[in-house]
Amino acid sequence: MSDFKTQHEAWQQKAEKAASRFPERREEFKTSSETISVNRLYTPEDVSGDYMEKLGFPGEYPYTRGVQPTMYRSRFWTMRQYSGFGSAVETNQRFKYLLEQGQTGLSTAFDLPTQIGYDSDDMMAKGEVGKVGVAISSLKDMETLLDGIALDKVSTSMTINAPASVLLAMYIAVAEKSGVSADKISGTIQNDILKEYVARGTYIYPPAASMRLITDIFEYCAEHVPNWNTISISGYHIREAGSTAVQEVAFTLANGIAYVDAAAKKGLDIDKFAPRLSFFFNAHNNFLEEVAKFRAARRIWARIMKERFGAKDPKSWQLRFHTQTGGSTLTAQQPDNNIVRVTIQALAAVLGGTQSLHTNSKDEALALPTEESARIALRTQQIIANESGVADTIDPLAGSFYIESLTDEIERQALEYIAKIDEMGGAVQAIEQGYMQREIQAASYQTQMDIESGDQVVVGVNKFRIENEPKPELMKINPELERIQSASLAELRQTRDNAAVEAALKALRQAAEGSDNLMPHIVSAVKVYATLGEICNVMRDVFGEYTPAQW
């Protein structure tokens, strides 16, 4: 027997004895994923396989250690705070404030009417205008939102899904008006409808029509907007809805497979569109599990793209991702504690090799962030980047017996889920049958039960509470906004060239009824100031609306 084996066994016996005298805190330790057990100790025995095959070098297949050869030694991740509230004027001011504070990219939050394709004066928009993001009903609002921002210098992410085509068209139109051609702009649209059906809820059209719009965008951008990330395949909201870390990876990548399949079916060349696919993950509190999760996701996707889809361009193999810290981990109680949670989560994202990062503000369990809390959130990233030293070498946790073992285990369990979804006919079918939704709901209920029983401690909520907490100052949205937006829309509808609007909408309707790419028609419509609602209503008419079954 080798020296290691003898010593290891001896140590195990010693540890058992110690544990019988001083019982361990739990009988079984687990990560946040119910299905992953955590051992007392990890040793070289827990790490298997060939280094080159499983890890390789940064910027090289299978990208476990990162997608770039120098990672943060050349340039830090993009610090991209998601913001948007009230009117386009107010959000434009917040954008400029964040850029002055050293933020390096923009990220736009739209209000719910905008996200669901309703103008601010629509009946369905009542009470929601400007609440969770900025209200954008026409190109006019978009011009105000981006006023004074150099669109050839800054990259802009837009959290928009069902009407992504319309908002992208508006962005292109504003850029062109300011003398920046479409091939010079860069940014991301979320454009990930599958996770809207699963977890986030801002769908409009049924799956087939939605998938067509998405692949139309892939095709259009490959030709006209080459630096635009045409989709951000998102696990973030799946996790927020209560999934485990394993489910987050598995369902996100399964959705990714569905998009690649749809584009291939349309006849697009994989190496033309795949390099512009991007991802969006969550970062929760179980620090080491989160680091392993990002590494596992990169390795799985590289293999899927190379082996399953036969992509040839290394850029098609690379999983590039944005991270946001976990909103659902924040507590309304003792909100200052959230700064600490966000720090742990952000550190996990950085050690996991994220390309860009949003850190949540401490007051987000209560309201939209104030300017002060948004600044602290940005400062958290700046401190990690400039003071902690973790960005000075690439993938510094690699080789940790636990991290590598956990990376393998997350990969194994995620692949099991993906195989099961394949058997069901793919992600679209799995979602239509409610499979992903049921798995997430079961995990979310289990988490809540664990918190209620005290098995899972949430500091300040079920343990370490204080009475009579001071009330923090919260952000308020102007209640007059709905009226102001309605008045400005009424004026727009009177002053624009309505004959041109009608002609553009008619052309769009014809294209939607046929099989033309819809993007050029949408771009023409927004340029003559057809509103978001008018454009989406034409497609509602042609495509119908999605109504989910209840489970």
Binding site: E128, K131, V132, E196, A241
Partner: protein
């Protein structure tokens, strides 16, 4: 007291798609022995009240995390009154700042459950406050 099971409509008014909380509460109330109907997303106050009356519920639980509660919650109570169904207990939950709660109670929302509320407390409140019906 009769054997009547408490009937609850858990509803998502407005455009908010965050249904994790609503679904957890629905399941917990079911586990607590109540009959629970879940409305699904994107319900107008009119639709919610129509469902409540049609399903003859004792309680409506409204959930909103989008900040639209000040418009949507009172509207549900107003419509219930208008249609003579104001014996239905209305409670709410979600991301709701403390300072909004007095006005919501004034408008007829019996209780507001904010983040961190124990499920058992919600069930208990409903049991204690639901109007006993024949």
């Amino acid at each position: 007291m009769s054997q009547h099971k408490i009937r609850v409509l858990v509803a998502k008014p407005g455009l908010d798609g965050h249904d994790r909380g609503a679904l957890v509460v629905a399941k917990a109330l079911r586990d607590a022995g109540m009959e629970v109907i879940y409305s699904g997303l994107r319900q107008t106050p009119q639709q919610i009240v129509a469902t409540a009356i049609q399903e003859d519920v004792d309680v409506i639980g409204l959930s909103s995390l989008s900040g639209a509660h000040m418009h949507l919650f009172p509207e549900v109570v107003r419509l219930l009154k208008e249609q003579g169904a104001d014996d239905v207990l209305v409670v709410g939950g979600g991301v709701i700042p403390d300072e909004d709660i007095p006005a919501l109670k004034e408008a007829g929302i019996a209780e507001v459950f904010t983040p961190g509320t124990a499920l058992a407390d919600t069930a208990e409140f409903i049991r204690a406050n639901v109007q006993k019906r024949g």
